[in-house]
Symmetry: C2
Subunit: 409 residues, 2 copies
């Protein structure tokens, strides 16, 4: 946890309503030498449905492997999140720690182990100490319920602010609530990163439908953000639907209210994803990159990510330099169909280059003014087709180096 | 050109012998507001064969497009290199500047335009000023021949030292010489980057064979280095064989001496490639990454580059932190077959992790000592097959941010 608040942090946090069937508790497991809560326990009402999206890393943590299996059951009663130790690349000892947490938590709740979900985040390569986990769980089971903000703060590692979002939807004439907390500020890239996100709703949603909806929302949000192109071994987004709201249950996309719920879920995921970028390690600018005119949406997304991940583009933005040449470079290296002489590039809505050339009488002043702000828009039209995509990233600054050249030691 | 010499620069430059049939000249075209030579002209004897490898960027510079065509002729009489302006993404005006250089230089030498090769490096997006090019060429045609070192210095942009290498081979009992100059320090990644390299030999080598040999040498050298994962629109490596040596001409791989020549060419390319990494923008550590035990050599190379391009690995090395967890992360995100529980990782020859776990009684002291040096070795065994690859990179430091957040403005 950094002392220095990201300059891109929202001026104020939203107030999250209670979600019926969800209660959070936090405690000190002291996974690191720090004096802060680092263990979060969320109790979920019986009958809660669960869906999840997990890292594509070929070397996932035991938690991720476990959650992938447990999700097949589609039911959840509890969530445990450890901060400070990712328990990744820890072999059998890592899995033994997960097993310990499962048995203690399932025992406490009187449910099946498969209904318990576990995540860990922090240093990789050190097995999660079972004694600390056990003591932490005992403390957290005895603790009073806490606020969303305390839970959001307790799952943090290098984050500089707790990240929360909320929205609602009308389903069958009833208002259902969706709220989420998330952590992550480095090692962020599709498909996600040291990003742990948890979404809670009081709506009743069939687990299979919830999974399809979450996957769709993720494709346009969490999988469209990048801080440093690095993908974590532990990425996890879980969505829990307690069904405590009296709105009719959703079981298929055709149900009345399903569209509204999907839209709300999309909105919530986008809010949470943007918060992660706003806390990008060392970030001073929030960058939105829109690519249009590519041969397909997938092609547009690959080009957009090539721009978003380019260290030279990211440092140019940090330097408030309208260096569109570097954008051309990043388009060129994406390996996707592109024609230099059809490219058009804008910064902040001002067209800088068109048809392979700087625009006549290019006036850098409005572009320079845009770049001095903290919200940067880059638009690239490829000029070949109808494919489009949007991605979000941040600039690359001295702050990133400071944080990452001295994180573990 | 930076004031600050890279700490990884070789203590001394090699002395390059004359290559018969090659003469270099330099002049001031003043492509930027600077008082230094920035135009290099190399005259080649009649009968010189040429081969080349060019950027894979989909948005190449006019120079690259032109060279790709001219290489089909296989013959060269002259080379012009402009520093300070890459002339890339400049539309028809960029190509007109190339055409002007071709006609002036071919006129001066009395040869076909197709025998002239042109490269430009520097800012992208600004057409190369034809008047400056013309005045520069007039000056350079009238200049006295210069040293290799002057030529190597004149092609530089953000480089901190001139880069030269030399070697030799025995062909048919005669010693043939191979020398090269290269520039590049950022925007370096496979397939190459703002990297311009020129290799000269007095051997007689058929152009088609020279092309095959250069492509083979490039695959294991220039295409195995990365500074920042960014690929330039202008990457060019050209090899010129003047045939002025009395050694027998090489026309096929079966010829006596062909193996020796290929080995020498490989060696020269590797020397030049390593020099580029040693001048990586902001570099303080030279990092060699060896991957073994992958399913194939290609798979090993992709894993090695995933490690080499990871900002989190590169900042960990900058911070002298044996953070092998980040190496695991980079293996995991490569998307190649890997099994967490078979990975073995070493730093400086000391095994840190084996079979998915930190080694018993891991002693960090020798690893920490290795990381305090400036030459870092990372070895990763995937444990699945026989595939292997080596790549080279540098760390990611504040220096990179300083150079790139304030390059164009």
């Amino acid at each position: 946890m950094s002392d220095k608040l990201s300059p891109l942090a929202p001026a104020q946090s939203p107030v999250l309503p209670d979600i019926e069937g969800v209660s959070c508790r936090v405690a000190r497991a002291r996974y690191k030498e720090w004096d802060r809560c680092d263990l979060t326990f969320v109790e979920l009402a019986a009958g809660t449905a669960v869906a999840g999206v997990l890292t594509q890393s070929k070397c996932p943590s035991p938690e991720v492997e476990y959650c992938r299996e447990a999700l097949k059951g589609g039911k959840a009663r509890g969530l445990v999140v450890n901060a400070g130790n990712a328990n990744a690349f820890t072999g059998a000892r890592g899995m033994a720690a997960v097993q310990k947490i499962l048995s203690l938590t399932a025992g406490h709740l009187g449910c099946a182990e498969q209904e318990i979900f576990v995540s860990s985040t922090g240093v990789i390569g050190v097995p999660l100490p079972q004694d600390k986990a056990e003591a932490g769980l005992k403390a957290v089971f005895a603790a009073e319920p806490c606020s969303w903000e305390e839970a959001a703060a307790t799952i943090m590692t290098t984050d500089t602010f707790p990240k929360m979002a909320t929205t609602s939807a009308i389903v069958g004439g009833k208002t259902v609530h969706l709220s989420g907390i998330i952590k992550g500020s480095g090692m962020i890239a599709p498909d996600m990163a040291t990003m742990l996100g948890y979404i809670f709703t009081d709506a009743a949603v069939d687990a299979k439908l919830l999974q399809e909806m979450l996957s769709a929302a993720t494709a346009k949000s969490f999988n469209c953000i990048t801080v440093d192109s690095d993908t974590s071994t532990s990425d996890t987004v879980l969505a829990f639907a307690t069904g405590q709201n009296s709105a009719p249950a959703l079981t298929s996309f055709g149900d009345n209210g399903a569209d509204a719920f999907q839209a709300a879920l999309n909105d919530l995921c986008m809010q949470l994803a943007h918060l992660v970028v706003r806390d990008g390690e060392g970030a001073s600018k929030f960058i939105e990159i829109a690519v249009t005119g590519a041969e397909s949406d997938d092609s547009a997304k690959r080009i957009a990510l090539s721009i978003a991940n380019s260290p030279l583009v990211k440092t140019a933005i940090a330097g408030e330099d309208a260096n569109w040449g570097r954008v051309v470079m990043a388009v060129g290296k994406a390996g996707e169909p592109a024609d230099r002489d059809r490219l058009a590039i804008s910064f902040g809505g001002v067209t800088v280059a068109r048809e392979g050339l700087v625009v006549p009488d290019y006036d850098e002043a409005p572009v320079a003014a845009h770049l001095q702000g903290s919200e940067i828009d880059i638009t690239v039209d490829i000029g070949l087709g109808e494919g489009r995509a949007m991605v979000w990233t941040c600039d690359l600054t001295h702050g990133y180096i400071e944080i990452n050249a001295d994180y573990r030691s």
